[in-house]
Symmetry: C2
Subunit: 256 residues, 2 copies
Amino acid sequence: MHRPRIVLGQVRRHPFIVRLDRYFNLSDDDLASLWGLLEAELIVNKRRDLVVDGYEFRKLCLVESGFAARYKLLRNGKRQIVNLVLPGDVVGLPGSFLKKARYSVLALTDLKLQVCSVSDYVRLCYKRPQFGLMLSWMAIQEAVTCAEHVIDTGRRSPTERLAHFLLEMYTRLEMVGLAANQSFELPLSQEVMSDALGLSVPHLNRTLAKLRIEGSIALSNHRVSLTDPTALEMLGNFQPLDLTCAPPALAPARLG
Amino acid sequence: MHRPRIVLGQVRRHPFIVRLDRYFNLSDDDLASLWGLLEAELIVNKRRDLVVDGYEFRKLCLVESGFAARYKLLRNGKRQIVNLVLPGDVVGLPGSFLKKARYSVLALTDLKLQVCSVSDYVRLCYKRPQFGLMLSWMAIQEAVTCAEHVIDTGRRSPTERLAHFLLEMYTRLEMVGLAANQSFELPLSQEVMSDALGLSVPHLNRTLAKLRIEGSIALSNHRVSLTDPTALEMLGNFQPLDLTCAPPALAPARLG
DNA sequence: CGAAATTTTGATCACGTTCAACTTCAGTGG
DNA sequence: CCACTGAAGTTGAACGTGATCAAAATTTCG
């Protein structure tokens, strides 16, 4: 089987690695091990379902570029988006660890992915324990993002929710170099946003308009500008996600 | 320092171990390693905050018995409960992996806990990689529970939410032997439930009454009986959480 | 037993949904 | 280039749900 040569310099620019490297100081060796697992590079077209609720899925897909949504369709016909998947995120976390996926994942734009199998990854975890910890870190990040989302939909007013959402998008995109100067590209329809925030489309639209009129944000095409971040932070009560750095591999205790 | 002798038979009955053992076949050796990390056994009284939003927390506390709530207090005075912590769950996941905790954890009943430090645990992960995977599994479970909670608060009607919630409680408690025959002890005030489900107390009360009148549930003191589980499952669209079992430690590929 | 917390009930009202129409825009083919 | 089409965004009016506030009933606990 032919394996392309791995160019570490390029790998280090991959948004997933950029994100991980904040918490783990990845050695060239680590990168080589991880990239050695990859089975395929995949392009998925907009509107395609990547993961389907109810079916087994056993891959981890590192998102190099593009947006996706993890969602659930309910009996009553409504849709709830559980989380947006941005560049640097992983598709298949948590779905690949369940006997059958509970959510579907939909490509909101064209997507470029690197794919590896879960079993290969887990095997690597046994050989190099730091990879197990990386998985934990990713899952914890996922859990916290989700927890914040519970608070959004549970107890925040529509305006607060939207403010929080936009700030979350900004910081998550900024982490991977896709946002700067209080401004970023957000290729989501209002229907997607409303299903993420648990609002109706008309009400989301009005809420968006409200923030625009107040001068807190500006929109053009799909570019969002946070023109009054302070006001938004006040509204949304947003706190950036600050995971600790993982302790280094070698136990500092009991040096022999 | 005095360490109590570890009685493995007892450890195996600990709800946390019971829960983990479904996914990992824990050897006596694993149990000994894990129990060797424990620093203290702790009793926390009802109404005490175990973790406080905004403060550093670096412990993992295995809940042997009792109920707690992970919650956030918002600017507007409202409270959202992100997740209920049941016997077998871990307090400090995810809080201990953040620079500062983002949520508080409140004891809803008296609590009995086994405590270990995060850095000790992580150190163990490097020595025995399966512990890193266990942490991943726990975090993934957390993420999925939370995701389900997003759907609840986002797109389910109050009745659906409550049905889903009661079924979730039943299955989580059943996993650790605290529920059977469609019936279980749930020592939560209606205020707690309403803050978990994002409803007002009066409305939760009415919703509870509705399910009672329809004959789907019965309540006495704090014992819940699911008298018509089928109806509830229909309403709540509940799916039990079925994590995969972790692959075994030894890679089946390339035996040398 | 008395005090406090919790549960239950009722009345009112605001917010956000729903449904429908209309506008704007992007893409396509005549 | 414009007409056509379908998707996405915007606006309006009416309705219903669930919040809010208040008070009563009940339970719990010191």
